[in-house]
């Protein structure tokens, strides 16, 4: 009796094990990170469902696990995702390892022109090898790392006076990295409205990509480069040159002297939390979150201001954002392509921006009304003007994890000097590129 029931249970198990892999033809699964824009995309996609009769399923993974899980999924040839909005750095691997469907023929057939999209986004999100007209994704979500601050605090006369007294300067949106640090240090430990506040919420996360994304923002502006000559992988002196060392030391100073206590493993969510709970005066995060911050009932509206990553020696912002790709293991590629075709339309792209997604289409971004459509729209254009990305090589994960380790060891765990950290990083990267046969 018991045995038969158990047998039945196993039979059921085996049956579901098989049926789970066979899905009906018109149900598309789109995979992306779980964040504000993803909710906007769900809303936007209702139009696609209505127009084509296909239904959309979404698999949104929290950022700290996103890369890990999605790359694992691609590498195991999984059929979970038909469409994937994958991070910009995955494009090299996606293209070379055959995870993504090449879209050139499709674009041609459907009359989708990459000239209709902002060149920086096409370069970053769609092409591999970089800059060649080989497209593996449609630019879906433009993004860069930017800053926001408590405008209401900045406008308090007593705070302005105290800042003037402490630094001899006026309190304003920082124009350089040094000024940013000075302002953050000014707010660190200051009492405002009866509560102790801190300077800036920055990225220090270890597990995925956090500290690299945060620190590169500073490193770029101090003159950090990946290579002396683009395409030559000659990193000695570029990655670990004096400018880069200064930039990394700067980021450590920012971390040590101007962040909330216990802020040792923080990425997007922690930065948002710290800012929304009124802990910090300044926050670093992706533009993707700015619509949500602006509409926040507690700290949004008049109380918040935005600015792009300030320059130091040069201007530079860390690129975020993603393109949308069709996964080559999917059984429903045609329907997936149909989705991309629908998504690329100018009016859908306009609606996308309205709902809080950063369209990359020129018709949206270069529209004269764009700059004033949101308080951060103009800053977004500035940031997108000088964005730089991490390596987009097929071996990007190795390169990224090496940098995560070296940076976290130096900045948070106080191991060694900035010069040593970057020297070791060059060693790690050299080894990787040697394995790749590129050096």
């Amino acid at each position: 009796m018991k045995t038969t029931r158990l047998l039945a249970a196993t039979a059921l198990t085996v049956a579901t094990g098989f049926s789970a892999t066979a899905v009906s033809a018109e149900e598309l699964t789109l995979c992306w990170a779980a964040w504000d824009p993803a909710n906007a995309l769900v809303e936007l996609s209702k139009d696609f469902e209505a127009k084509t009769g296909n239904t959309m399923k979404f698999e949104f993974v929290p950022w700290p696990n996103f890369a890990d899980r999605m790359l694992n999924e691609l590498n195991s040839g999984g059929k979970l995702c038909d469409l994937l909005i994958g991070d910009s750095q995955w494009i090299g691997g996606g293209a070379e390892n055959g995870h993504y469907v090449k879209l050139n023929d499709f674009f041609e057939k459907e009359g989708i022109s990459m000239d209709d999209f902002l060149p920086a986004t096409v370069y970053a999100y769609s092409t591999w090898p970089k800059g060649t007209p080989n497209y593996y994704a449609l630019p879906a979500m433009g993004d860069a790392n930017g800053w926001f601050y408590r405008k209401d605090w900045f406008e308090k006369p007593e705070i302005q006076a105290a800042y003037k007294e402490a630094t001899g300067q006026d309190l304003r949106e920082p124009q350089t990295q040094e000024e940013l640090l000075q302002i953050a240090q000014f707010f660190q430990g200051r009492e405002i409205d009866g509560k102790k506040r801190y300077g800036a919420a920055i990225f220090t996360e270890r597990g995925s990509e956090g500290i690299t994304m945060g620190a590169l923002g500073s490193l770029f502006t101090f003159g950090f480069k990946f290579e002396n000559t683009p395409g030559k992988y000659d990193m000695e002196g570029a990655v670990n040159g004096p400018d880069s060392v200064k930039g990394l030391e700067f980021y450590k100073t920012l971390y040590k002297t101007a962040t909330p206590p216990g802020y040792t493993d923080a990425y997007m969510e922690q930065s948002l939390d710290a800012f929304k709970s009124g802990q910090v005066a300044l926050g670093m995060n992706w533009f993707a979150f700015f619509p949500g911050l602006y509409s926040d009932p507690d700290i949004g509206g008049d109380k918040i201001g935005f600015f792009p990553n300030p320059p130091q020696k040069v201007a530079g912002s860390m690129l975020g954002g993603q393109g949308i790709s069709v996964v080559s293991y999917s059984d429903k590629k045609d329907a997936a392509l149909e989705y991309i075709k629908w998504f690329a339309q100018p009016e859908i792209q306009a609606q996308w921006w309205k709902l809080g997604g950063y369209s990359c289409r020129k018709s949206v971004l270069l529209d004269p009304s764009f700059k004033d459509s949101q308080p951060f729209a103009a800053d977004f254009l500035v940031a997108m003007g000088d964005v730089k990305d991490f390596w987009q090589e097929p071996a990007y994960a190795e390169l990224l994890l090496a940098m995560q380790k070296r940076l976290h060891d130096y900045v948070v765990a106080d191991k060694g000097t900035a010069q040593e950290a970057l020297d070791k990083l060059v060693e790690d990267w050299t080894e990787t590129f040697q394995d790749e046969g590129k050096l």
């Binding site: 790359l71 055959g98 216990g262 802020y263 040792t264 994960a397 190795e398 060891d409």
Partner: protein, 315 residues
């Protein structure tokens, strides 16, 4: 025995077939019974092990199907053994192993000794103490990060309540000096009951008459403890240490959830480091060599230990 359905079936079976079934020698039946298990273990353990050994001599990367696979001899092994960062993760693992085992043996033995006083309701309280080790380390570990949060976390609050330290002034998981202890504390919380149960079994295996004889000889309680209790429980204790040692050498889920190896690489135990190499960097060949080195290490240490254990048992 009365005629059961089986008897009837047995009787109704044609003699020829019956002879055939009965004719299956015990040896055949033994093989039929053992074979599926052995097959499964071969397929999921031994075959993969051989595959891993093979991969460990290559530059294979599982995320790069198009890349040419080359045999590179012992290069992977040389790289791993010559990498100072890997020795640091070994150190972190050793620290974790030593302190979890030391604390668990100390607390576990004490608890077992106390429970063996046979006070009223001891089995219910024993069960409550056992609860943590039955639970999912990943789920519980994840929740411990909440308990460890500066300021709002229960752990920091309790510490500050008893010591007067500001609960927002320290971060168990974020500070280089505290994180290795944070993982030791949670593991000890979780696995002390295991050591306790084994010790309890050991204590209960000591027959009363030995103590009675000792009492007649007027041996002090202290002396009885050192000359009877401890030596008789020692084999059990050593076995507990072996199990915990092997388990904690494999430790992954709990620590991944707690610190993810951070801050920096402070709590990056070998399993976490191996996971990064194998499933984040996808250096499959390199990671395979790493896995083999770990396996040989555990296997070697465990064998030496088991020899020592057998000596203790013989005494």
């Amino acid at each position: 025995m009365s005629a059961s359905p089986i008897d009837r079936v047995a009787k109704a079976t044609p003699p020829k077939l019956a002879r055939k079934i009965r004719g299956l020698s015990d040896r055949t039946i033994a093989w039929i019974f053992v074979a599926p298990s052995i097959f499964l273990l071969l397929a999921v353990n031994i075959f993969p092990l051989i595959w891993t050994i093979n991969l460990s001599f290559t530059n294979f990367k599982a995320n790069r199907p198009g890349r040419e696979i080359k045999y590179i001899g012992l290069r992977n092994y040389e790289r791993i053994l010559g990498d100072s960062d890997i020795w640091l993760t070994m150190q972190a693992t050793a620290h974790f192993l030593f302190w979890t085992i030391a604390l668990q043996v100390l607390i576990g033995f004490t608890l077992a000794w106390l429970i063996n006083r046979k006070f009223k309701g001891n089995d219910l309280w024993t069960t409550i103490i056992v609860l943590p080790m039955m639970l999912s380390p990943a789920v519980v570990g994840n929740f411990w990060t909440f308990l460890y949060q500066p300021q709002i976390g229960l752990f920091n609050y309790v510490v500050s309540f008893f010591s007067g330290v500001d609960p927002s002034s320290f971060s168990m998981l974020g500070e280089v000096s505290l994180a290795p202890w944070a993982i030791v504390i949670v593991d000890t919380w979780m696995w002390t009951p295991f050591v306790m149960l084994i010790c309890l079994a050991g204590l209960r295996s000591i027959p009363d008459y030995i103590y009675e004889a000792a009492a007649i000889d007027r041996a002090s309680k202290w002396r009885q403890f050192w000359t009877i209790t401890l030596p008789m429980v020692l084999p059990f204790l050593m076995l507990a240490v072996l199990f915990r040692g092997i388990e904690n050498f494999k430790m992954f889920d709990l620590v991944v959830q707690l610190t993810g190896g951070g801050p920096g690489s402070t709590t990056e135990l070998t399993s976490i480091n191996l996971k990064r190499e194998a499933f984040e960097k996808w250096r499959t060949g390199y990671a395979s060599a790493y896995a083999i080195i770990l396996f040989v290490t555990v296997f070697g240490l465990a064998s030496i230990y088991v020899k020592a254990l057998n000596k203790v048992k013989e005494r």
